[in-house]
């Protein structure tokens, strides 16, 4: 039976009603994914914003612009094939555990005020003698 719609565009498609075959798209019928990085304004870091499926890098940029830069908050885009990203695993997150203990890397670990005060105090005492 021909499908009748109140949408004239749908009527023009000349479609039949009825169920689809079980698997219309083949399981391997995909474009690979690209990870997208966007820079909000000049001077900012590029930030990961999501992915697009694309047949190549050039198309990935076109689609990334449509997907992540529709409202002017972007001046530059990078795309990287997901397959090319090398990442740490959350299972090994403990490799970062010891970093908060490394306070010798932090400025707050270096307190000189006490020493200076003590030094000034002893100088004052010496002068008073």
């Amino acid at each position: 039976m021909k499908l009748v719609s109140l949408d004239p565009r749908v009527c023009r498609m000349d479609m039949a009603e009825g169920a689809a075959p079980d698997a219309l798209i083949q399981e391997n019928d995909h474009w690979p994914t690209y990870e997208v990085f966007a820079q909000k304004k000049r001077g900012d870091q590029h930030q990961h914003v999501g992915i697009v499926h694309a047949p190549n890098g050039e198309m990935a940029l076109v689609l990334a612009k449509e997907q992540f830069a529709r409202r002017g908050m972007c001046v530059n885009l990078w795309v990287v094939r997901t397959a090319d990203v090398v990442a740490t695993s959350y299972e090994d997150a403990d490799i970062f555990d010891s970093t908060p203990q490394k306070t010798h890397r932090e400025p707050v670990d270096y307190k000189v005020k006490d020493k200076i005060n003590r030094y000034n105090q002893s100088k004052k005492e010496k002068n008073e003698q």
Partner: protein, 328 residues
């Protein structure tokens, strides 16, 4: 926009899956702490399954939701409204892309999801199985359906699955524009001529039932949804979301001297809870089963797009590409 009425799998059909109790306990502790779950983390099978189902339904709803609105792009009243509705429809398709990507990180390919939409295995929001008969319907959809979607999506953005939360944050940002342009179109009709008012009222009457269905039937007593809430897959009960929606938006309809076709609709001044008549849940279940006024058309249009676009995808497809799950 999105169907807030998340439709869980029929739990009776399969037995609960036994999980490693230590891993499960550690997982739940992290959820309680407010940690986000990332794709590579261990997660209960049921958590993964329900999330795929929910995000996938959400994605399909964005795609199918663009169809009733798309109907009126060619006939939008005036240039500005045409530009607005085109931008909104493009946003909705973009939302679907973000959501498919989030679901993909859980291990279901986009192709499998689209297949399941077209062959009817997956669900999408029931409201989109109703036709947009007039431009007034578009005003009602843009204002009230998107408003309902925002209630749902803002809550879900605080859920436990990282990729879904990130997608929703982007989505919510754009939904603010959808709601605003919908309200603008709605108010324009409500404050226009006698005829525009009565057309809007008629559209409101047509859409009230599907809007009440939007958040799904009451699930307060459901053990299943209790677990999903514990895991922060679901962030509020269907009733609570519906109540929040009614509380925010019924006054904005009534202030324009429009009416709603439910004589029992009122706010209980003691409890602050909105009371309403039976919105015909039988109809809701009938439409889910595929017997709504537009189910067949929606799927046929989606299938047509897939069939007609297939050669482009095939022609451009790189050879020997091995599928890699997106990272985040």
């Amino acid at each position: 926009m999105y169907g807030g009425g998340y439709l869980p799998d029929d739990q009776k059909r399969h037995l609960p899956i036994a999980e490693d109790p230590d891993k499960l306990a550690a997982f739940e502790t992290r959820i309680d702490r407010g940690d986000k779950v990332e794709p590579q983390d261990w997660m209960p099978t049921e958590y993964r399954k329900q999330l795929i189902r929910m995000i996938e339904q959400h994605a399909h709803s964005e795609i199918i939701g663009a169809l009733p609105e798309g109907t009126w792009i060619t006939r939008a009243p005036g240039f500005k409204r045409k530009m607005a509705i085109m931008a909104k429809v493009q946003d909705e398709i973009g939302h679907a892309q973000l959501l498919y990507a989030a679901a993909e990180t859980l291990g279901k390919t986009r192709e499998a999801m689209i297949n399941d939409l077209i062959n009817g295995k997956s669900k999408y929001s029931n409201v989109f199985n109703y036709p947009a008969e007039t431009w007034s319907d578009i005003a009602v959809i843009g204002f009230l359906i998107d408003a309902a979607a925002i209630v749902n999506q803002t809550l879900n953005a605080k859920g436990s699955y990282g990729p879904y939360c990130r997608a929703l944050e982007r989505i919510c940002y754009e939904e603010a524009f959808h709601l605003k342009q919908g309200h603008d179109a709605f108010v324009a009709l409500a404050t226009g001529t006698e005829r525009s008012r009565s057309e809007l009222q008629a559209a409101l009457n047509r859409w009230w039932k599907p809007i009440m269905h939007f958040f799904g039937p009451s699930d307060k007593a459901s053990v299943h949804s209790e677990k999903l809430m514990r895991w922060k897959v679901k962030m509020a009960s269907n009733d609570d979301m519906r109540n929040q929606f009614l509380d925010m938006y019924v006054p904005r309809i009534w202030e324009l001297d429009l009416t709603l076709p439910d004589p029992e609709l009122r706010k209980d001044s003691d409890t602050g809870v909105w009371l309403f008549g039976d919105p015909d849940w039988n109809e809701f279940f009938e439409v889910i089963k595929g017997n709504g006024p537009c189910n067949a058309e929606r799927l046929a249009v989606r299938r047509w797009a897939e069939e007609k676009g297939e050669w482009v995808k095939r022609a451009l497809r790189p050879r020997n590409e091995i599928y890699v799950t997106p990272l985040a």
